[in-house]
């Protein structure tokens, strides 16, 4: 048994690793700049004079200048690590020109000439060339830049040579576009963004929220209790209701009550959770459609003070918890009860039931002592699966009912582009899901005499 247990735990490691790698590359695919969001959090506007310096400071501090992964496979003319270029515009230009098949060596020369030219124009005191400077800073079309250099050369200026250099670099870059390319393998070693990020994630540090500057792990820690509470409550209530009804309608499958409940569950199963929630809120939380329908309190905003304990909040808001739990239970009942019904029907036709009847047992004791254990066993797996999917299913309920759980946090963070929080939640919930599924598997093996005895023999 312990061997089996340890084996399962060891198999968890690669899965968790895959989750972390997936989350990392997804977070890098997201458009937008992390350093920029951090600066906005600090209250620094892009117009500020020290913006570039502060940007580079944060860029270096967050380790964004390091390569993404342990190695990279790139076309041979690419720069080894474009992230190491600190200037924002330069980095953008090299990425853009590389994708237009210009050789990175030429691009670096152009960028160098461009940097010199910009500093020369900036030093020019006559201020005649401010619009020229703007053009130079934001133009990214190579042909346009060459044409623009031609016109600038017509004027007698102090930086005529620099313009000439810039133009020659540009035209030599334009003349040698790459046609054929082959892959280049670059090994970066442990000094990369993924390595540092993964280590901090494994230590429990998921970074900082760019919206309010709080630790992501702290935010998740607060939110996950609500999601777990909702999932546990709804799954246990659903099990309590669906096992008796499923047993009944499976055992006495030809009665009208059994058929009626089966049909009712089928309809309930087809109702989307968010529709049920919207209908219940619309009709039962206000006096609008008659005061007798005003049963539940209107879903309000839950404000949970930092020092208030969770139980206090639950007791205070217990009335508000009724509707969300009803909505989550409604969907679960239909599924679980149908499974219980089908299993019971299957067991009913087995020969051991015939044997029990022949011994003269009552119908009730056949149902409870013989059928129930056989039906409950596969239910362990189902309950575990429901609990795991209940974590995900709580998302829309939390959004509709304003419960400060993981789903609500995820939704708000996506709308606010707070990607650190989004991927933190993704990792935490994935790990919780994996744990649930593994525990279910172990429990099943422990409870199932067929597997358990086999393991003890071997």
């Amino acid at each position: 048994m312990i061997q089996f247990f340890l084996k399962k735990l060891i198999f968890l490691i690669p899965t968790v690793l895959v989750v972390i790698i997936t989350a990392f590359f997804l977070s890098k695919l997201i458009p937008g700049d992390h350093a920029e969001s951090m600066l906005i959090l600090q209250g620094l506007q892009p117009e500020a004079s020290n913006y570039n310096r502060e940007f580079q400071k944060i860029y270096l501090k967050e380790g964004l200048d390091k390569p993404l992964f342990y190695f990279s496979v790139l076309p041979h003319f690419y720069h080894d690590n474009v992230h190491s270029i600190l200037d924002n515009q330069d980095r953008y230009l090299i990425q853009k020109w590389q994708s237009e098949k210009y050789h990175s060596k030429n691009i670096m020369e152009v960028l160098h000439a461009r940097q010199i030219l910009i500093s020369k124009i900036e030093k020019d005191t006559s201020k005649k060339f401010t619009h020229v400077l703007k053009n130079l800073q934001f133009e990214n079309d190579v042909k346009q830049l060459i044409r623009w250099c031609d016109t600038l050369q017509l004027y007698p200026t102090a930086f005529k040579d620099d313009v000439k250099n810039f133009k020659s670099a540009l035209s030599s870059m334009d003349a040698t576009r790459v046609t054929w390319y082959f892959p280049k393998f670059v090994w970066h070693g442990a000094e990369n963004q993924f390595h540092h990020w993964a280590i901090s994630v494994l230590k429990g540090d998921l970074g900082q929220s760019v919206k309010d500057g709080r630790q992501v792990s702290q935010k998740i820690n607060k939110a996950i209790r609500w999601t777990l509470l909702l999932a546990l409550l709804s799954t246990s209530i659903a099990l309590m209701i669906s096992i008796p009804t499923g047993l009944y309608s499976g055992y006495y499958s030809n009665t009208w009550i059994a058929k009626g409940t089966h049909f009712f569950w089928l309809v309930l199963y087809s109702i989307p959770v968010f529709w049920l929630a919207s209908l219940l809120i619309l009709y039962t939380t206000s006096d609008r459609y008659g005061s007798w329908l005003h049963i539940f309190p209107a879903p309000g905003i839950w404000y949970v003070p930092d020092d208030q304990s969770m139980w206090k909040t639950i007791i205070k808001n217990s009335q508000q918890l009724v509707l969300p739990v009803i909505c989550m239970v409604a969907n679960d009942i239909a599924q679980i009860s149908t499974i219980v019904r089908n299993n019971t029907q299957e067991q009913k036709s087995k020969t051991y039931i015939l044997m029990a009847r022949a011994k003269g047992l009552t119908e009730a004791s056949i149902l409870v002592k013989h059928i129930l254990p056989n039906v409950l066993l596969p239910l362990i797996t189902i309950a575990g699966g429901r609990l795991a999917s209940g974590l995900a299913g709580a998302l829309i309920i939390e959004v509709i009912f304003n419960i400060p759980g993981m789903g609500r946090l995820m939704y708000d963070s996506i709308l606010g582009s707070d990607w650190n929080v989004v991927f933190g939640i993704l990792i935490v919930l994935s790990v919780v899901t994996i744990l649930f599924l593994t525990i279910t598997e172990i429990l099943y093996a422990w409870a199932n005499p067929k597997i358990n005895q086999k393991m003890q023999v071997s």
Partner: protein
């Protein structure tokens, strides 16, 4: 099979047919432009044109619901309850009311049917092809045993790395179509080399590879992510929201389910006599898989197809209810419901909900019917 259950299945098929017809003929049923005009001897069909032409009503045949799903009209049309006429000016009846911007609910429902059915059907076509082919192949070769020699191994690895590399970078440089051609060319070269090495080095030592294990690993990884959270995180990757992104994401997340079932079913029938016979007769693997394995695992897959379409429709309406991932101007069932919930307009909550529920219930009923049928056949 009792009659009441059969009646339910027939009704469900009817409902789905109606939805498909509505989706196809949506622009004719609900359109702000007239369908047919006869002005001064000229016969025109304004609903086919892009610009809105002004035509007087007497010489034109209007659509049943003469409103478009996106036409806003705050003046006299806003927040009308079902079956009421506009309070200002002349206008046709709003059968199912309007929202706060004066958009007709019925027209929105019809347009939403198009979006939902398209997402449901197209994404399931993709998931079916990807999932079933991978699942079948994995199970088939795990039973048959796939042994290749060292040269084939090396070509396989090189072809996969180079193919992936050129696919990605050609996609950046010259677009998706060229990239797909490059990938197909790579596959072709791989096939030829594979064949040559197989024939010329018959005596070389062979190594066993098991595609089934790889597939099972991928399925476990996919299962460890909570579905809707991954879906929402993925929508953030795309800068411009579009319906095709949603289809892509649903395909990426959904194919493992088809692969799992196709694999299990294929494993179950691999021991059957007709497969053994076909293999002894020397039929090619592709022929056995397509004309002997696929028809026999189809009954299980049909059930899964019905459930997957309803699942995809549900996923689409859920994320559009949350207001994430779809373009602002697209009118969907979920969005209408979300706006009705905020504004406390019951017709915007009830009607789209009924539309979603009916199609999901029909699909589930049909799926259950096939499930029962498969059980009794076994």
């Amino acid at each position: 099979m009792n009659t009441s259950a059969l009646l339910g299945v027939k009704l469900s098929v009817l409902v789905i047919l109606v939805y498909i017809l509505v989706a196809i003929f949506g622009p004719i049923i609900a359109n702000e432009k007239p369908l047919y005009c006869h002005v001064e001897g000229d016969v025109t069909f304004p609903f086919l044109e892009k610009t809105l032409t002004k035509a007087d009503d007497e010489s034109c045949v209007l659509a049943c619901i003469p409103y478009g799903p996106q036409t806003t009209n705050i003046n006299g049309h806003a927040s009308l309850s079902p079956g009421s006429y506009p309070t200002h000016g002349s206008g046709k009846i709003h059968w199912l009311g309007t929202d706060k911007l004066g958009r007709d609910t019925a027209a929105g429902l019809i347009h939403g049917t198009r979006i939902s059915l398209m997402i449901g059907v197209v994404s399931v076509i993709f998931t079916f092809f990807v999932g079933t082919s991978l699942g079948m192949a994995a199970a088939y070769y795990s039973v048959k045993g796939l042994k290749i020699n060292i040269l084939q191994y090396i070509t396989l690895i090189i072809a996969i790395t180079l193919g992936g590399f050129y696919f990605i970078f050609e996609w950046i440089y010259s677009g998706l179509i060229v990239a797909v051609w490059i990938a197909l060319l790579m596959l072709f070269i791989l096939g030829i080399l594979y064949f040559i090495f197989d024939k010329t080095f018959k005596k070389a030592p062979k190594y066993r590879i098991n595609p089934d294990q790889i597939l099972m690993k991928i399925i476990t990884w996919r299962k460890s992510f909570p579905g809707i959270f991954l879906l929402l995180a993925l929508t953030g990757v795309f800068v411009i929201p579009s319906v095709w992104n949603i289809i892509f994401i649903i395909t990426v997340l959904g194919w493992t389910e088809f692969a799992r079932h196709a694999r299990a079913e294929t494993l179950a029938i691999m021991e059957e006599n007709y497969i053994t016979t076909a293999r002894i007769l020397g039929f090619s693997d592709v022929r056995i898989l397509i004309s002997h394995v696929l028809p026999n695992i189809m009954p299980t897959l049909v059930v899964l197809i019905c459930f997957s379409v309803s699942g995809a429709i549900l996923a689409e309406s859920t994320i559009s209810f949350l207001g994430i991932g779809l373009p602002v101007e697209t009118v969907t069932w979920g969005k209408m419901m979300a706006s009705g919930r905020d504004m406390q307009q019951w017709w915007l909550v009830v009607f789209p909900g009924i539309a979603i529920m009916l199609i999901i219930m029909s699909l589930n009923t049909i799926a259950n019917h096939f499930l029962q049928k498969n059980r009794t056949n076994q």
